[in-house]
Symmetry: C2
Subunit: 168 residues, 2 copies
């Protein structure tokens, strides 16, 4: 390798500069680029954790979607939530069901639908992974005080509140 791997900070600065040079607005690009860079790094970390648990990131997406929904979901809903084609969900659910992490049940109200829910084992996997990743995430936010974290969360939540109005 000719040069050392640049720091995340350096990569961020360069990325923003590149986007601004290409015609982006700086105040926008600083935020968006930072958000994406952070997610990317987190994803890399999660990938390692999930490898240890022998779960693919797509399978993990299904588990978290079910956990967050708090109720059974259909394959179509899961496909939508996890950004995947409905036809791909069939096989994913086959594998997850085979491992005993989710279960399929017929919807009593609509025979074209199938309701997928987490099993006990699925919930166990979820809780374990969340507790593990919380450790890393706390490290990531280590340099921010309680008030700064709250302010960061507040600003992000303002942005999130706007999301629905956009692609409508």
């Amino acid at each position: 390798m000719a040069k050392r791997t640049p720091s995340a900070q350096e990569l961020h600065r360069r990325a923003v500069a590149t986007y601004v040079a290409a015609g982006g607005e700086e105040s926008v690009q600083r935020v968006i680029t930072a958000v994406q860079g952070l997610t990317k790094k987190l994803d890399q970390w999660y990938a390692r954790q999930l490898t240890d648990l022998d779960v693919s990131s797509g399978e993990w997406a299904v588990v978290t979607s079910l956990a967050k929904a708090g109720e059974a979901l259909t394959p179509s809903q899961l496909a939508e939530l996890t950004n995947v084609a409905p036809s791909s969900m069939t096989h994913r659910l086959d594998k997850l069901a085979e491992r005993g992490l989710v279960e399929r049940a017929a919807d009593p109200d609509n025979r074209t639908r199938i309701l997928v829910s987490l099993t006990e084992a699925g919930w166990g996997l979820f809780s374990q992974a969340i507790r593990d990743s919380d450790v890393v995430e706390s490290d990531v936010l280590q340099d921010l005080g309680d008030d700064e974290r709250a302010e960061l969360a507040r600003l992000l939540e303002v942005v999130i509140a706007r999301l629905d109005d956009i692609d409508a």
Copy 2:
């Protein structure tokens, strides 16, 4: 569909509650969940734009990586930067080269390496897509004033500066 699709805000609240119930720390989960939710929504939007340009998200990742690097990169580096196996990069580069967006050249200093760079057309695609997406991104940050954007960027950049110290 039995129930209406919940708002992004509502999804965020539920997700945080779920993670906290599973053992995560609230001040951490509010931030991390918001960052991930935002990225997910942005990714959905980019996917649509890229479909219009007939570029897959993986191919786009290659183009942006090259643009941000500002210099030619090897297939291995691109695989690392885009979170993909090196063997997958071979075919991706084949397709991109076939479309005239990137070009491969032998590294004069090391015959095992290949240097990939953006062509004129590749740069054109990049600039076009950035200008397009900047429009959406500006909308997303619409509810934040200049000072709030700067504060949000600052806080995120503090977090990013810490990333390298973690998985080391």
